[in-house]
């Protein structure tokens, strides 16, 4: 009786274990939320089982001979060393298996390449280290970076437990929003180095390469939030440029688009008035921390050899319009990015004023939003 109980308890445990394990951490590719990802999952499982079957045969034969053909068991070696039949068999059978695998793989690949008849297009641009999303027909354009909570926790020696942060390293300030059930075409490029845009639930990743516009598409069938990361090494903060996609119902999506447009109008209405230097510096500090400090360091000392110091820099303490020009347009052939699309007139004015009058610099002048607008 006890034995029987034990047996049942054990079997129940066996049945429950894999389920419990899956709940905590994934072992396998996600099944995904697009037809593409599900087709890819199918291919993955098929080839996996083919491998497992071949492994059983090969390792089975090895184990058999290791157990039964060992010298300590008194085995005497046969001296055969050739068999045309065997050689033909294990050349031809694998070829047949490969052809059987190649057919469905080809079909999926052809389907993935067909981005025609898309309902909408979004241009995705990789920057070091954030993503920019431009909705081609909607006049919506924004940047998406690692959210503040993750950013604080991921600093060396922050002493913040990542487990306490909501979606640590997989959360952004402005998620990409797309409608459910629509074929969305992604046009991928990069402004500085190569990045790669990957949301596992969609079933693919595609490189974002400067000078190229790559094409990929997704038609998501389920409303929800899907997360991914940059997959191509792109420098110091490669591990810190996540992707979040919110898939909304048609109504919610329409409402979101409307809200974006209102926000854009509001932003443009900021009058180009002359702002107080203190206010600019205060604003500028935040922007510096979020955009500049990663290379030029929080105190402006830079990193010798790769990232020049802000403190005492000839450029920063020199002519204002030169300074504005480098911040806006970047510096060709270096890691210095062009910020004119990433930041508004006000933000640029603020961060430039901050750099000139803080971090050990005391130039005394200010950059005003109007100065920026004049150079656009």
């Amino acid at each position: 009786m006890d034995k029987l109980k034990q047996f049942f308890a054990f079997s129940t445990l066996l049945v429950c274990l894999p389920g419990a394990a899956y709940a905590e951490y994934a072992l396998n590719l996600p099944f995904g939320v697009t037809e593409t990802s599900q087709a890819v999952y199918g291919l993955h499982m098929k080839i996996l089982w083919v491998c497992v079957a071949i492994a059983c045969i090969v390792f089975g034969a090895m184990i058999w001979s290791m157990v039964f053909h060992r010298k300590s068991q008194g085995a005497v070696a046969k001296q055969f060393h050739e068999s045309l039949l065997a050689e033909l068999l294990w050349t031809i059978v694998p070829i047949i298996i490969l052809v059987i695998m190649a057919i469905p793989a080809t079909k999926v690949l052809i389907d993935m390449h067909d981005a025609s008849e898309a309902d909408m297009s979004i241009k995705v641009t990789g920057y070091q280290w954030k993503w920019r999303y431009q909705y081609i027909d909607e006049d919506i354009d924004f940047f998406s970076s690692l959210d503040a909570a993750s950013n604080a926790a991921r600093q060396v020696g922050s002493n913040i437990d990542p487990a306490t942060v909501d979606h640590y390293l997989l959360n952004v300030d402005h998620p990409l929003v797309i409608p459910v059930g629509k074929k969305v075409r992604f046009l991928l490029t990069a402004s500085d180095v190569i990045h790669s845009w990957w949301v596992p639930e969609f079933g693919w990743k595609k490189d974002a390469i400067p000078g190229y516009i790559n094409e990929a598409w997704a038609k998501v069938d389920t409303v929800g939030t899907y997360r991914g990361q940059c997959a191509e090494l792109c420098g110091r903060d490669h591990g810190f440029m996540p992707i979040v996609v919110e898939v909304k119902s048609a109504e919610d999506y329409a409402a979101w688009v409307q809200a974006q447009k209102l926000e854009a109008v509001a932003a443009k209405q900021i009058v180009a008035e002359t702002l107080d230097p203190k206010e600019l510096k205060h604003k500028g500090k935040k922007i510096y921390r979020a955009n500049c400090a990663v290379c030029h360091q929080a105190k402006g000392e830079g990193v010798p050899g790769i990232f020049p110091a802000i403190t005492g820099s000839a450029l920063v303490t020199g002519d204002l319009s030169q300074h504005i020009s480098v911040v806006m347009n970047g510096k060709f052939g270096t890691a210095m990015a062009a910020f004119k699309d990433q930041l508004s007139d006000l933000e640029l004015a603020a961060v430039i004023t901050y750099q000139r009058n803080s971090l050990g610099n005391k130039v005394g002048d200010t950059a005003q939003p109007a100065d920026i607008a004049a150079l656009r």
Binding site: L29, V40, A77, W90, V156, D161, V193, N214, G305
Partner: protein
């Protein structure tokens, strides 16, 4: 045996010089082989130390120890050191020691060049490693050196390029020497199809080296001029093409991975028959399979680039070609298994490592086959699944074969038997830990963890912790390996010339250790 001793005495005037000058001026294939092997061991431990830093930072989520840019330097230099400083020199060392003996020749054909090709290496690596102390640190753009990222490097960048040039020169000279030796120094009667497979696989590897190292040299030179002389080969803003670099790099890079594994096939094809007491199954098909793999290696490079946006036709071609590689590779595995089948097997340490090689290299081969399926690769690409894949083929593949070769030939080289109990401990510690290290990385990759990241989302924490623990244990096991090798060099039970009961080949006709000059009179080939 008597003849061999006589040969030795005949050449008293050619005995090695004394002291350190022996090693600096040596033109003897055995001395140079020893230098290569010790250098490779040093680099293996150094690259391993960098891997320990990587695994330490990845032990738990959050950044505890290193800055992300230093982490990137670690992954980049770890790979460069292991590939160009660890595995390649180790195989060249084995080739130097064994090829002349295996074909019944007196030495390598070009002994002075042999000396030079070794002595370039310490300088090349001193230069590469010196970049850690320069402004901007060591290269951090990944060992694949993709522009534009690599062009953002600090002052170390040109030093890395020059170091790669020197490594390439060293490899090409080594390869020329191998080919010239095999074609000219074989004993009468040693026809090509009588050569041991280790000689064959090295012969083919040498051609691969000569074909692709100059391609790498060209690619890195273009990087150099892009950075310093305003060319724009890889800069889209100047009409160049960043993807062009990837094509050139992988045209080198894919044959390179076979450069790292073909000699391993040769080693395993020597060891399995010895300890199965049975001739190698399908010798000629092994030769043809190796040649097919070498040929195919030139037409599959873009499978490393499935996600760059190749045209559909290109993706289909490279997918089919890559899948084809499974066929000759499968033939080799089936042949090894058939060699063991109905043999009379014993499990000395070299055999354990050879069996470990076959099993775990095959696991790496399976994940390779999965990666060949282009649509699935869109998910696997640049994730820990790939990291698991190439560490299975390179660590439990290439490195395991080097370990196997060391235990197999160390008694021959030193004249002393290694301690079998310690050897077996080394095997089991390594094998358990290496699987704890790399197997969970398959799961991490499939679950969505990209490679080359210093920090990760919390759902990846469990497996990363396992992987790190396995990594530390594997690292310690290799310190143990160094101790075993040291102990064997210092002394041990004297080895017979046959060493292994079932061993067959010319190296076992010489004394252990062999005379300083091997076959001044060619041996008779049966």
């Amino acid at each position: 045996m008597a003849t061999v001793t006589t040969i030795h005495e005949d050449h008293h005037d050619h005995d090695p010089a004394k002291g350190v000058m022996r090693w600096i001026t040596t033109t003897n294939h055995k001395d140079i082989g020893t230098l290569y092997l010790l250098f490779a061991l040093l680099m293996f431990m150094l690259g391993g130390a960098m891997a320990m830093v990587i695994r330490l930072e990845l032990f738990q989520p959050g950044l505890q120890f290193v800055d992300p840019s230093f982490f990137n330097q670690m992954t980049t230099v770890h790979a460069l050191v292991m590939i160009f400083g660890g595995v390649m020199p180790a195989f060249v060392g084995l080739a130097n020691w064994m090829l002349p003996i295996m074909i019944g020749g007196p030495d390598m054909a070009l002994p002075r060049m042999n000396n030079w090709s070794f002595w370039i290496l310490p300088f090349a690596f001193a230069m590469l490693l010196s970049t850690f102390f320069m402004d901007g640190g060591a290269p951090a753009g990944g060992w694949t050196l993709y522009p534009p990222l690599v062009l953002q490097g600090g002052n170390g960048f040109p030093f890395m390029i020059f170091a790669i040039h020197m490594m390439g020169i060293s490899s090409v000279m080594g390869a020329i020497n191998v080919i010239v030796t095999i074609l000219n120094m074989r004993a009468p009667g040693m026809t090509l199809m009588k050569m041991p497979l280790f000689v064959w696989t090295w012969f083919i590897t040498a051609y691969l080296l000569i074909a692709v190292m100059p391609v790498l040299a060209g690619a890195v030179t273009m990087l150099l001029t892009d950075r310093f002389f305003d060319t724009t080969f890889f800069n889209a803003a100047g009409g160049g093409d960043p993807v062009l670099f990837q094509h050139i790099f992988w045209f080198f890079g894919h044959p390179e991975v076979y450069i790292l594994i073909l000699p391993a096939f040769g080693v395993v094809s020597a060891i399995i028959p010895t300890f199965s007491r049975k001739p190698l199954f399908g010798y000629s098909s092994m030769v043809y399979a190796t040649s097919s793999i070498a040929f195919l290696s030139f037409i599959v490079w873009a499978h490393h680039m499935f996600t760059v946006g190749l045209p559909l036709e290109g993706e289909l071609f490279f997918m089919y070609a890559t899948m084809l590689i499974a066929v000759p590779t499968g033939v080799k595995v089936f042949n090894w298994v058939s060699t063991m089948w109905r043999g009379s097997i014993t499990f000395e340490t070299p055999m354990l490592f050879a069996i470990g090689f076959v099993v775990m290299f095959t696991i790496g081969g399976f994940s390779g086959l999965m990666l060949a399926i282009a649509p699935a690769d869109f998910q696997y690409h640049d994730t820990y699944f790939v990291v698991a894949h190439f560490h299975y083929v390179l660590v439990t593949g290439a490195v395991y074969s080097i370990m196997a070769a060391t235990y197999y030939w160390l008694p021959k080289w030193t004249g002393n038997m290694y301690n079998e109990t310690l050897g077996k401990w080394h095997f089991w510690l390594s094998t358990v830990s290496v699987n704890v290290l790399f197997f969970p990385q398959h799961f991490l990759g499939l679950a969505g963890m990209p490679r080359r990241i210093p920090d990760y989302a919390v759902q990846f924490a469990e497996f990363n912790m396992w992987s790190s623990l396995g990594g530390f244990a594997f690292g310690l096991s290799q310190v143990f390996f160094c101790y075993i090798v040291y102990k064997t060099i210092k002394g041990g039970e004297p080895a017979t010339s046959q060493v292994w009961e079932g061993a067959d080949g010319l190296e076992w006709t010489l004394s252990s250790p062999p005379p300083y000059h091997s076959f001044s009179t060619p041996p008779e080939i049966k």
